[in-house]
């Protein structure tokens, strides 16, 4: 029972990561790639938490905390500089 659940968790995480990487490679615009890389980073956080929950330790908490605090800057930096400046300037 537990083995089946463990294998299912591993397969689901792996397939989700592969699909996110596919969107990062194929994304038509850079904003699509930003959204997909954000999903991939969230998945890294989820995998770290799953490792702690399954193996019963709490050593990865600082890594999760730093990723949760810092991951916003990537999206904001990309979104700040891709603006198309074709609006009429006054």
């Amino acid at each position: 029972m537990n083995g089946i659940l463990l294998i299912a968790i591993m397969v689901v995480f792996g397939v989700a990561a592969i699909l996110s990487v596919v969107r990062i490679v194929r994304g038509p615009s850079i904003l699509d790639r930003t959204v997909a890389s954000d999903v991939l980073l969230t998945e890294v956080m989820c995998v770290l938490g799953a490792d702690m929950a399954i193996n019963g330790h709490t050593r990865n908490i600082p890594v999760m905390l730093i990723i949760a605090a810092v991951s916003v800057f990537g999206s904001i930096a990309v979104a700040n500089y891709v603006a198309r400046r074709d609006n009429p300037t006054p």
Binding site: N2, I9, A16, A36, A79
Partner: protein, 130 residues
């Protein structure tokens, strides 16, 4: 009081609860990835991407707390995962807002799918104005 705090749920029950919670979080991650491949424009993909950012992370943090098994351990686990959840709640809408606004300005959204376009008049203002 101390006997209540030292009450521990059995090992097998705790294992099954933890694995089911982690599996639901993993399925939410998979649904976000499938949504990234399925939808066609940036706001739809943002809609799919927010599921594991909030609900999946909350479920996995609950699994971390349940994995401590005793009542006092669960309270301690909740205390150490609550900052992670609060930081994620505070920063996820920021990046989604910025990405969605730039997607609108770049024209990478499906204009005919919009019901109401309340942002149209701001196209005539310069981008640096706000």
């Amino acid at each position: 009081m101390t006997s209540f705090l030292e009450f521990a749920i059995p090992q097998q029950v705790a294992d099954v609860i933890v694995l089911v919670l982690v599996l639901i979080g993993a399925i939410l991650c998979l649904s976000a990835a499938v949504g990234l491949l399925h939808f066609r424009d940036v706001p739809s993909r943002l809609h799919a991407a927010t599921k594991p950012q909030v609900l999946g992370l909350v479920l996995i943090c609950l699994a971390i707390a349940v994995a401590q098994r005793t009542i006092s351990g669960m309270l301690m686990g909740l205390l150490i995962v609550i900052p992670v959840i609060l930081l994620q709640f505070a920063t996820a809408p920021l990046s989604a807002h910025m990405v969605g606004r730039q997607a609108y300005r770049n024209g990478t959204i499906n204009q005919r799918a919009l019901v109401v376009d309340e942002y149209a008049e701001s196209k005539t203002t310069p981008p640096g104005a706000g």
